[in-house]
């Protein structure tokens, strides 16, 4: 029997108000994403791919439509419940890494765990394991400014993984990296999907990066241009 999709999006519409003008970022988008899938969202700037990613990750709300992630309608959750839900279920990887500059690599990775109530010993274990997974256990005490761009992004991936979420969302994770670092990061995301059974959704402009995914969805002017929901 086929597994139900991890992400189920139905008739999702997002309209922004910019001064006097309404801008439709997403228009009636419906999409299913299966468990362990490595989905890449492609499209030109302003096509709505980041907006779609933000709504799936629970950091933005649609104007209309439904977005269920692992059976939870994230559009119906309160602000506070949504924050809890994100902490437990979503790992974020941003284009500009967004590490806290005053914290070491170890502390940056530990940050989401401060909300979980885990003991210090368990936190240490999980942080070590996440840093080992991205190959940066030996850089644990380095501050972000002491790391290369690729290393910073790998720390960000470790931070996204440390709470063991099922969903990893990555918004142009290779946009600020050289080609070798980009390959490394994309390889890690791919292995998370293949070996760790994580669902990875990645926004990218780069067809080479998109090639790492198991499926690519194109968006243009807020609408899907290739295919049905699944």
């Amino acid at each position: 029997m086929a597994q139900p999709p991890v992400v189920q999006i139905r008739k999702l519409t997002k309209i922004y108000r910019q001064g006097e003008i309404n801008v439709t970022a997403l228009n009636d988008v419906s999409l299913d994403i299966a468990a362990s899938e490595y989905l890449t969202l492609m499209g030109p700037s302003g096509s709505g791919k980041s907006t779609l990613l933000h709504i799936i990750a629970g950091i933005d709300r649609p104007t209309r439509g439904q977005c269920q992630v692992q059976g939870v309608d994230v559009t119906a959750l309160s602000e506070s419940a949504l924050a809890d839900w994100r902490n437990r279920n979503v790992g974020f990887v941003f284009q500009t890494f967004n590490l806290i500059p005053v914290l070491t690599a170890y502390e940056n990775v530990e940050l989401p765990l401060l909300l979980t109530g885990l003991s210090g010993r368990l936190r240490r274990k999980q942080v070590q394991s996440a840093l080992e997974m991205v190959g940066l256990a030996d850089r644990a005490k380095h501050l972000p400014r002491q790391l290369s761009g690729g290393q910073e992004q790998r720390v960000a991936i470790a931070r996204a993984l440390v709470t063991d979420p099922n969903l990893i969302v990555a918004d142009e994770p290779t946009g600020n990296l050289d080609s070798q670092s980009a390959q490394d990061v994309l390889g890690i995301l791919q292995s998370l999907s293949k070996s760790a059974a994580k669902t990875v959704i990645m926004v990218t402009h780069d067809p080479k990066a998109a090639a790492f995914g198991s499926r690519t969805v194109h968006l243009e002017k807020g609408e899907l241009t290739n295919g049905s929901p699944a």
Partner: protein, 381 residues
């Protein structure tokens, strides 16, 4: 890492700014404490049961008008009066000083311990003073300041009386609210000034605290409609009226205190807003990671409160250490004898600091709460 160490790292991320913020709070609170201490020293006379029993009697028109010495016997007969002494300001300059740097009062030496019971004078010194009409006793602070010794002579030139006097120091007193004065025989002043039959004020002690209002009323009534009507009032009221001669110092200093606090709030709020504005993107990331608005508010509040309190500890603690251990009399050239940083003043300063910490965190917290994760992530570093 703990939440506490995370807050500390954030607060100290820009060490120079944190240091300057702490110092601005510290210096302002030091100033605030100094003003409050000065205000207290100027407006609140030392409270003591004996002091509370004392009544000052002066001419109703003004302190500059003298009173007839014949009033003494009338006051002595008033029920409730335990003792009375003439108390006349001589206004003498010591040697070549341009203005009087310590006060000299002519009084009845036999009433010294009766009226000013808190004054501690060795009995043999007191006896020597009683005996010698030209002798005087000097407050301990003035003795120390001028390095006077028993037996020294004090040549004084009055700015008020048409006679120069020379006192022989036979004793030292201490333990009064103002241990800077020189007390000498009123008879010496009478003789030297040609027996004018006038005194500056009367200083009276009532039998008990309860009788003070009655004695005040009786004295005022006794001289009503005479050629020298008097104004009798408690020592505290008398000192307060002195203060009021300088203008409304309380309002003046209070206004400066308000300006200090207001400026401090503006500076701290702006510093805190700046510090948080720079971290909007990071705070958005924290929100994305699952931190709630209330947790972010707690971070900002703790940081702001921590900086304000550190400043308070340095500023208020510094003021306490300075005013407790330094020789304030020497430091202020005799203007203040002591400067006591009372628990009430310290409490007020810490309350100001706490309020400062809270108020400074409100606007940035509100801005962070209003900003969505997506808006925050779009903020440029």
């Amino acid at each position: 890492m703990t939440i506490g160490s995370f807050i500390l790292k954030n607060a100290l991320r820009n060490k120079r700014r944190a240091l300057l913020s702490v110092l601005s709070v510290a210096v302002s609170l030091f100033l605030l404490v100094t003003l409050l201490v000065a205000l207290r020293e100027m407006t609140v006379p030392a409270e003591d049961v004996r002091a509370a029993q004392r009544i000052a009697v002066r001419h109703r028109v003004s302190l500059a008008n003298l009173l007839p010495a014949r009033q003494l016997s009338v006051i002595q007969r008033i029920p409730g009066v335990a003792g009375v002494t003439p108390f006349t300001y001589y206004g003498g300059k010591y040697k070549n000083e341009e203005i009087p740097s310590f006060a000299q009062f002519a009084m009845d030496p036999l009433q010294m311990t009766n009226i000013f019971g808190e004054a501690k004078v060795a009995s043999e010194q007191l006896a020597a003073w009683y005996k010698d009409r030209r002798s005087c006793i000097v407050g301990k602070l003035t003795m120390e300041r001028y390095k006077f010794k028993l037996g020294d002579t004090l040549p004084m030139t009055s700015m008020l009386w048409p006679c120069d006097l020379e006192f022989k120091i036979v004793g030292v007193y201490e333990g009064t609210p103002d241990d800077r004065n020189v007390m000498f025989h009123h008879k010496y002043l009478d003789e030297a000034s040609g027996n004018t039959g006038m005194v500056g004020t009367w200083w009276v002690r009532a039998n008990s605290l309860e009788e003070v209002p009655l004695v005040v009323e009786r004295i005022n009534k006794a001289f009503a409609n005479t050629s020298a009507e008097v104004l009798a009032e408690t020592e505290r009221a008398f000192v307060m009226s002195f203060v009021s001669m300088w203008g409304n110092i309380k309002v003046f200093i209070g206004t400066i205190c308000s300006v200090v606090v207001f400026t401090l709030v503006l500076v701290s709020a702006s510093t805190m807003s700046m510090a948080i504005r720079e971290r909007f993107r990071e705070l958005a990331v924290l929100k994305a990671l699952g931190f709630q608005r209330r947790e972010l508010f707690a971070f900002i509040l703790a940081e702001s409160f921590g900086l304000a309190m550190t400043g308070a500890i340095i500023g208020v603690g510094g003021a306490w250490a300075l005013y407790t251990h330094a020789n304030i009399n020497q430091l202020t050239n005799g203007f203040f004898i002591v400067a006591e940083v009372t628990p009430r003043i310290m409490g007020m300063a810490f309350i100001v600091a706490a309020g400062l910490g809270i108020i400074s965190s409100l606007l940035p917290s509100l801005a962070v709460a209003r900003t969505t994760v997506v808006e925050g992530l779009r903020t440029l570093d």
